[in-house]
Point group: C2
Chain length 372, copies 2
């Protein structure tokens, strides 16, 4: 749950309605998930029973909820912001939603929340076969991508707790422990330093580090391994996400070399960030350094992703994204190089665009850390 | 993760393809979530990067995955069952998916996984505007609803662990503890008795018990309270879900009366279950008992839901559902009565349809338990 006092849900709802109108949409249809939490401070689990917030450019927002969740919705910030319309088991909630979408719904243009279940969308489409649906992120992505001061502070707190987790783990022994044991220790540190939940913990040792989304397995870490540590969770509802690559004992020369290349690529991307620069140009800055070092084919993912209520959200720091960066945007910078069957290196920080440049929210040391 | 050895993924994929053909579909499009875990033993987190399994009546299944998750997919049971087609950041995965759907995709009829993100479905619809999409549960729901012997055994293990959790909590003191503290104890017991994860814990004391999906708050439990305890998690990938209502010290006469009504309703529903009976008739059996006792308006939710890899899945035990029960179907029977502002009572067991009747997987005592 997000501390509701800190956030201006009424303002967000108003801006979302205006932006929907400017985008030519008759309404946004927002299902449980980060969009609903952002707009209305209501964060129930997504279920087969339909819950949907309707935000229109020309009317007050309305929240359709299952009867048995009405008390929960009423007790959330949504309860004082919105009209709540309940429906009962056995009734057709899509008919009820159609009515809330207004008299012209049959030929309407709607933005549906990205994380809405396809089953809910298809049921609504079956009822409104002439209506057009597009991803609500086209409207909400730009609103959510720019964080206000309170959100930046929450992301900074989450990043600081992730930094402390790295400080704690690098003081521990790696050699002889299974990846899974190091992952459990990382999870425990994340919680001890204030995270409510742990979202993911990657411990990729030796050849496993060359699989960027390898989680953590039974492999026992050996002296000489490079180990990719990528972990994060939620603190006050906002996400952390950091990656550091450590060496267990004296690293092989190529580990040092690749780490230096990735470090230089990350620095180049960082230095490319300022308002007005296209998101794709930040990716290009990192990629050029790695290509010039001869590892271009071994860097096969984007340079970063936005972060906030979700671990991954706009803006996408990916080639071809011409979206200009704006002050308040928060995202990861995380180039990597992966040598299949041998090792991987990735370095990741969360940064926020300032009025004239960039600020890193993570401060953990970025040089190759040697652990025992 | 589901222990893959136990499950016949190849058979499930073949049956899903046949069922899709019988339903007039050209393919099923299965995103990360329980459908993908069921069919292919691959269970990655849903993300903005598209992962999609294509199952066709007339061809081998194919799994489209982001390049950086290819090693994970290959290491799962899917790796030996399926062709894996990777796509790289910067490429258009919907174009790749369109190609996998075959030369006639433009006017195809497809079943999309219920839990696929709407953003993925809408992106595919934008590429195939003449194609028709329907919920994959129309095909997969019936397959997944009937559990094989191995699945029933996994559900039984999860139910037994939930029973032990109730046995442990009813020996503890309730009066003077906040709902949240009892919820934390329930979570700890669920894990101690073998659950990998805790999915939900409801502790609804006194008036909070009248809100069926109330979770657990700061209210301190008092002598005389009725307390609804509804909790569950995952054990070997399969879900548990049990509800018992306890009385803290000697209950008020109306608590005893309502509990007896709900107990009788649950028994009536249980006795209505056998192969061939419509799911809606089980709901009716419970509802009739409660209506005759004068509490019909206070029982405002369905009687139950299927359970397996998901807490809630087909069959739905709801009025109007004419679907006949079949041996191997597993679902909850959970009538309740909710007196707003005063208290609630709900009793829930997981049952499985046998060749000639029904078997309860939960065995915890159903009579009103008095706790201290």
């Amino acid at each position: 749950m997000i501390p509701s006092m800190a956030h201006d849900h009424a303002g967000r709802l108003a801006r979302a309605g205006e932006a929907a109108g400017a985008a030519g949409l008759d309404a946004l249809i927002v299902a449980p998930g980060p969009d609903l939490a952002y707009l209305a401070g209501y964060d129930p689990p997504p279920l087969e029973r339909l819950t949907a917030l309707v935000v229109r450019p020309d009317g007050a927002p309305v929240l359709l909820v299952p009867e048995l969740e009405r008390p929960l919705a009423a007790a959330s910030p949504a309860g004082s912001l919105l009209a709540i319309v309940p429906w009962r088991d056995g009734a057709d909630p899509y008919a009820a939603l159609g009515r809330l979408l207004g008299p012209h719904a049959a030929r309407g243009r709607f933005g549906a929340a990205d994380r809405m279940w396809a089953s809910h969308l298809m049921a609504l489409q079956a009822r409104l076969p002439e209506a057009a649906f597009t991803a609500a992120s086209r409207v909400l992505g730009a609103l959510r991508a720019v964080k206000d001061a309170a959100e930046v502070e929450l992301l900074r707190s989450a990043a600081a707790a992730a930094d402390r987790t790295f400080d704690a783990i690098r003081a521990e022994r790696f050699a002889g422990r299974a990846e899974r044991e190091v992952a459990a220790a990382l999870s425990a540190h994340l919680v001890a330093f204030g995270h409510e939940t742990v979202s993911f913990v990657i411990v990729g040792s030796g050849p496993n580090g060359a699989s960027p989304h390898h989680e953590a397995g039974d492999r026992v870490i050996e002296p000489g391994d490079a180990v990719v540590l990528d972990f994060g969770g939620r603190l006050s509802g906002y996400a952390s996400d950091i990656t550091r690559t450590v060496a267990v004992g004296e690293p092989a020369p190529q580990v040092r070399e690749v780490h230096a290349v990735v470090r230089a690529a990350q620095r180049a991307a960082f230095e490319a960030v300022r308002p007005g620069v296209a998101a794709g140009d930040v990716d290009r800055a990192a990629r050029r350094v790695i290509e010039e070092a001869g590892y271009g084919r071994q860097f096969f993912h984007r340079t970063g992703h936005g972060i906030g209520l979700e671990e991954h959200e706009p803006p996408w720091i990916v080639q071809g994204n011409g979206e200009p960066l704006r002050p308040g945007m928060a995202f990861s910078i995380e180039p990597g190089v992966y040598l299949e069957g041998r090792f991987g290196v990735r370095i990741e920080d969360i940064v926020v665009v300032t009025d004239d440049g960039v600020r890193s929210l993570n401060e953990a040391p970025r040089d190759l850390t040697v652990v025992s």
